[in-house]
């Protein structure tokens, strides 16, 4: 008899795990759970849904028992056996017990509703990159600090996009007017190709991509020392007032600019030059954008940019001599921590020189 009841309980437990049961029941819950919240007071509509649930479970169980040939009496007996009282079996039978236990049913529905909401949020986040403000304002969904961080991130993304666009505009301009710039950029391509080992035929874009990926993955872990180096790089080339008086923002800014740099590593020098120019204009009180400047000013600025690029190229050549294959190390290592350290040393030197240049440039522009 004991064996008999054990078999019956196991059989029904098995049915409760089978698609014949799981699909209709889950389907029901997913469709009906949206009205369930975890307010203390219950809505009248819950009762209606609970009734429907009861009917569904009864129908399913009844047809299964008929199919397998378990009588209600046998089932009753089996349920009183000690085996049916074990914790594992009790957990499996929870959806059945929920037909008679409204509180249990409600908790299952509330849980399901929350699961679906979280899923929806995740999908939204994946699609848009971030959540709309209306969904992040909730007190318990996100801390104030996280919200602040989100704001900073948005600001940073916006700025870096602006910078990139500005740079592109300037680049196309200078490409049109002076051929030398494009020559220098193609020179750089050559240099970079020489940097990579000859056997490797991966296109440079891919190298850039992978290095960027690894960089961003490292970044995701919030690594301190690297961020440190970037902060320095940052202060060298980015806005004079750190993110409009947002002290905590500077670190995030530093971290986040790197992917941009990673996308266009060859342009980092000219980007820096543009930043300096921008800075200089601002300090000189020229708030107009580059294209609004007079032709003479534009030309002068371009000359300076060109000069800075040439300086940068020289520095790169110098660096290439000192370190034959830095790019290879960078792209080959999954986590380019050692390579980046060396680079940051290099960068320090370069930055110092750049800073001097920037100072000179500033003086010149301001004097005018």
């Amino acid at each position: 008899m004991a064996d008999d009841s054990e078999w019956i309980v196991e059989s029904i437990a098995g049915y409760l795990g089978s698609p014949e049961w799981v699909i209709p029941v889950t389907d029901f819950m997913e469709h009906k759970c949206t009205v369930f919240d975890d307010e203390d007071e219950n809505k009248l509509s819950y009762t209606e849904i609970h009734q429907q649930y009861k009917q569904l479970v009864e129908k399913l169980l009844e047809s299964y028992m008929k199919e397998v040939g378990i009588s209600e009496h046998q089932f009753l007996e089996a349920c009183s056996s000690p085996f049916a009282k074990s914790k594992a079996v009790q957990a499996v039978f929870q959806p059945v017990v929920a037909t008679d236990d409204f509180q249990l049913f409600k908790s299952l529905m509330v849980q399901k509703n929350m699961e679906l909401q979280l899923q929806a949020l995740r999908v939204m986040e994946e699609r848009n990159g971030m959540l709309p403000d209306c969904l992040t304002d909730g007190v318990d969904s996100m801390g104030e600090l996280e919200q602040q961080e989100l704001c900073i991130l948005k600001e940073v993304l916006r700025r870096s996009k602006e910078e990139y666009e500005q740079e592109m505009a300037i680049r196309t301009l200078s490409d049109d007017e002076t051929g030398s710039c494009s020559t220098s950029s193609s020179d750089r391509m050559v240099v970079d190709h020489m940097d990579t080992p000859p056997a490797r035929d991966t296109p440079p874009a891919e190298v850039i991509h992978t290095s960027q990926m690894s960089e961003s993955s490292v970044m995701g872990r919030g690594e301190g020392e690297r961020a440190d180096g970037r902060d320095r790089a940052d202060s060298g080339r980015v806005c004079p007032k750190p993110a409009a008086g947002r002290g905590s923002g500077s670190k995030v800014l530093g971290v986040l600019r790197v992917p941009v740099k990673g996308v266009e590593p060859k342009m980092s020098g000219s980007q820096a030059a543009e930043s300096w120019l921008e800075e200089a204009w601002r300090e000189a009180g020229i708030s107009k954008s580059f294209t609004e400047l007079s032709e003479v000013q534009q030309e002068q600025l371009q000359q300076r940019a060109l000069y800075l690029r040439q300086q940068r190229d020289k520095l790169q050549a110098l660096r290439k001599e000192q370190q034959p294959k830095p790019t290879k190390e960078l792209s080959a290592a999954p986590v380019p921590a050692p390579a980046s350290l060396e680079i940051s040393m290099e960068e320090k030197k370069r930055l110092q020189k750049r800073k001097q240049l920037a100072e000179k440039l500033k003086e010149e522009v301001i004097k005018k």
Partner: protein, 189 residues
């Protein structure tokens, strides 16, 4: 369906395997009678921030070794038609009356007699709380009992209890009546 439901019901009782005595109690009455306040009082919760119930509240309260599952359903006119959906398998009806709301004594009497006539309420004991006795204008319980013609109830146990859900006075007396009358009656069946 009735057969299967009964079967399933007993299956679940077996599955739960609780040896504790459980009572299903429905708490009804007109809006503003004090049902939710009474429920909160029974559960020893705060009674100062109660708003009109739009749906229903459930609380499980331990009392005299029993587990009371008390269902408090909103009493506004527009949702009174839902009451009968909650009467199935009910062991006891608690009906709450605002003793100071004389203008609606007739209305509350009508609602009660309608409930009593429900099929699912056949033979189900009734405990009536003559609530808000803390108000000076409250009618005494005996007067209310007379107005409700309680003495004509012959098919069930009934009791009227003066109380103040706000202060808690008289509430325990009502609970004691439940344990001594309903519990014993249930054991014998």
């Amino acid at each position: 369906m009735g057969e299967v439901q009964k079967g399933l019901f007993s299956v679940i009782q077996k599955l739960k395997g609780t040896t504790e005595q459980e009572l299903r109690i429905v708490l009804l009455g007109l809006d503003n009678a004090g049902k939710t306040t009474l429920l909160r009082k029974l559960a020893s919760e705060d009674v100062n921030t109660i708003t009109p119930t739009q749906g229903f509240n459930i609380k499980s309260v331990a009392s005299n070794g029993m587990k009371l599952n008390v269902w408090d359903i909103g009493g506004q006119r527009k949702i009174r038609s839902f009451w009968k959906k909650y009467l199935e398998n009910t062991d006891l009806l608690i009906y709450v009356i605002d003793s100071a709301d004389k203008k609606r004594f007739e209305e509350t009497g009508l609602e009660l007699s309608e409930l009593i006539d429900e099929e699912n309420m056949k033979g189900v004991p009734v405990l009536i709380f003559a609530n808000k006795q803390d108000l000076a204008t409250a009618s005494p319980a005996s007067e209310i009992a007379e107005g409700l013609n309680l003495h004509t109830y012959r098919d069930r146990k009934w009791q009227i209890q003066a109380c103040s859900a706000l202060s808690g006075e008289g509430v325990q007396d009502g609970m004691n009546w439940i344990s001594s009358n309903i519990l014993n009656a249930k054991k014998t069946t």
